[in-house]
């Protein structure tokens, strides 16, 4: 026992984060990401506005004095005004049924709701041609009774509803499932009617998720091209929505007008993005989507 332990001097160390990459690697990664974003997102978006204003503000505004352009804008707004509320009601009803009740065929219904996301929009449009076209299932009968579905507003609305079908339901189902039904049950035991409980308890609990999904649903409803293109018939001033109008103008080498209308769609996208980000930042706890991704 002759040895006396001498104090060990540890070399001085700087704390290093567990995931500590060198500064070079970090700069490289961030640089790559930013370059990529600039090249594929910011640049095209900028190009839309540059092209739209290529011949000055008055040329830009002229594009909106065109009756066909106005009619396209009106049609797009009309379609969204019908399709979005429809999917809102359906989405809430479906989520309610799926989250709060047990019934046979539930998983099948969930799969069915997702279908429009996995089907090509062109196919979605063709479905309606097959059903309502003059050679289609109901087409002949409907025509005989003077109801025009294809190449008219009803067809466009139907195709849009189909394509935007899953947005609300997909956001609300996980949200409602997580919240369970004990708050509603509490309301019922306190004497509230089902409708009163829905209005005062369920709706406030899902409000931000609902707003979030309606926003995305609306953006898609206004921007949908493929399915609408198949059923619309491209009748100028009658069945052209904004995306279809953009394409027609572009094909006619009318770039300024084409990009002017496109800039409206781009602006809509930007607004959607901003509001969506605000919702995610402010109410992330009350959104199912922000937890799923």
């Amino acid at each position: 026992m002759s040895e006396i332990a001498s104090p060990v001097r540890l070399p001085e160390t700087r704390p290093v984060a567990a995931t500590g990459e060198g500064t070079g690697v970090r700069v490289l990664l961030i640089g790559t990401a930013i370059t990529f974003l600039a090249l594929f997102l910011v640049l095209p978006l900028g190009a839309v506005f540059v092209q739209a204003f290529a011949h000055g503000v008055s040329a830009y505004l002229d594009a909106f004095r065109e009756p066909d352009a106005l009619s396209a804008i009106r049609l797009t707004l009309t379609v969204a005004a019908i399709a979005v509320p429809f999917n809102l009601v359906f989405g809430v009803a479906a989520s309610w049924a799926i989250a709060k009740f047990e019934f046979p065929g539930k998983t099948f219904l969930i799969t069915l709701i997702d279908l429009p996301f996995s089907v090509s929009p062109v196919v979605s449009g063709l479905i309606y041609v097959l059903i309502f076209g003059s050679q289609g299932l109901f087409g002949g009968w409907l025509l005989a009774h003077g109801v025009q579905v294809l190449f008219a507003l009803p067809g466009i609305v139907l195709a849009t509803i189909f394509v935007t079908f899953p947005f609300v339901a997909r956001e609300l189902i996980p949200l409602m499932q997580e919240q369970g039904s004990s708050e509603e049950e509490a309301a019922l035991t306190l004497g509230a009617s089902g409708w009163h409980a829905f209005r005062t308890v369920t709706l406030p609990n899902i409000r931000w998720g609902l707003l979030y999904s309606v926003l995305l649903c609306n953006a898609r409803a206004m921007g949908e091209f493929g399915a609408v293109s198949v059923v619309s018939g491209h009748i100028r001033g009658l069945t052209n929505t904004m995306p279809l109008h953009v394409e027609i103008l572009y094909n006619e080498y009318n770039f300024v007008a084409s990009f002017a209308v496109a800039s409206l769609l781009a602006a809509l996208a930007l607004v959607t993005l901003v509001v969506k980000s605000i919702l995610e930042w402010r109410f992330s706890g009350e959104l199912a989507a922000s937890r799923r991704h």
């Binding site: 004990s182 708050e183 509490a186 309301a187 019922l188 035991t189 509230a192």
Partner: protein
């Protein structure tokens, strides 16, 4: 033993709720079998059972949140089986509070009053006054403007109780009301619930899987197992005279001892015990003994013998585990006097116990 004041008061009271031969099956599993139970007006009844015994389902059926497959629910003699939950006037308190997150505490409590039709709805000032009274009752005066997320678990559960009481229910139903709370809060809330009950005289049924909770709080305890009602009685009755091994085991620790019943008595290893055998019961039986019914004695006076395996002390008592020759382990409780080392040979005398036909 002086009769408990709680038990006496409700003895002749009328029946508030009658559960009549209720059966319920979920998917393929039967949850309640032909269960009947009377709840007396003004009593605090504990529904006690292990998880999966059907106690919560029974509570939900009484509330009208679930419907029975067979049987009836009567409220004060009237058939309420088909009555929708809104018209049953029950106050339901959920295990996880189920407070309305987006409403203030005051709005939560006032919810039931505000949900009434205009003709039945009290005036705004009256609602405000009642909410104030209830906030006083749950000792949260001044918390009316807060939101549930700003309250502790115990405070939330008190708000949930006030919310249920606000509609002046004919019965208060509590589903594992303290289940989500930690031990100390739980203890305080129990005492407080008992106080509130004594003050309001509200007929109350609460579900719990905690024996101590049920025995401490209840006027009467209903022990459920596998969807059947095993026994109903005062806490003293069910503890002193359990009707089955299931009830006995569920109410506390016990050891099983092989015994022989003959001539009205039970003997172990040829030595008589003070336990009486039910009339007509002859032959080998299982004797159930509580830890405090075993006494450490000299081997010559013992029914059982073995060696000390381990012991620990808690709150003035000593708990000793004794291993018999066959490897059978017995738990014994003794005063914290003599200390026993592991491996020490001991004899055990049986001073009491239970046998079931």
């Amino acid at each position: 033993m002086a009769s408990s004041p709680r038990a006496g008061g409700t003895e002749r009271a009328s029946t508030a709720i009658r559960v009549e031969a209720v059966s319920k099956t979920f998917d393929t599993a039967a949850v309640l079998h032909d269960l009947s139970l009377d709840v007396r007006a003004g009593e605090l009844l504990g529904l006690l059972g292990p998880s999966g015994s059907g106690k919560t389902t029974l509570l939900r059926i009484i509330a009208g949140l679930d419907a029975p497959d067979r049987g009836r629910i009567l409220f004060g003699g009237d058939d309420a089986t088909g009555l929708p939950v809104q018209e049953r006037a029950v106050g339901f308190v959920f295990q996880h509070y189920a407070l309305f997150k987006h409403m203030s505490v005051a709005d939560n409590i006032a919810y039931g009053l505000n949900a009434r039709r205009r003709a039945d709805r009290p005036a705004k000032a009256e609602i405000k006054r009642r909410v104030g009274d209830l906030l006083d009752l749950i000792r949260l005066s001044g918390f009316g403007d807060r939101y549930p997320s700003q309250l502790s678990g115990g405070q939330r559960q008190r708000v949930a109780l006030a919310r249920a009481l606000a509609v002046e229910p004919r019965v208060l139903l509590l589903d594992e009301p303290f289940g989500a709370l930690d031990a100390q809060v739980r203890k305080d809330l129990r005492r407080w619930l008992r106080e509130i009950h004594d003050r309001t005289g509200q007929t109350t049924i609460f579900v719990t899987h905690d024996q101590d909770e049920a025995l401490e709080l209840s006027d009467r305890v209903a022990v459920l197992d596998k969807g059947r009602l095993e026994q109903v009685g005062t806490p003293d009755e069910v503890q002193e005279n359990p009707v089955s091994a299931t009830v006995l085991k569920f109410l506390g620790d016990s050891v099983e001892v092989e015994a022989i019943a003959e001539g009205g008595h039970v003997s172990v290893r040829g030595r008589a015990t003070p336990v009486a055998a039910p009339a007509g019961l002859i032959g080998p039986v299982k004797l159930y003994v509580r830890p405090w019914q075993l006494q450490l004695v000299e081997p010559e006076a013992a029914h059982l013998s073995g060696v000390v395996r381990s012991s620990y002390r808690s709150q003035g008592r000593q708990r000793i585990e004794v291993e018999e020759a066959g490897g059978h382990v017995l738990a014994v409780e003794d005063f914290d006097g003599v200390r026993y080392a592991a491996g020490h040979p001991v004899g055990l005398r049986i001073n009491g116990g239970y046998v079931f036909a």
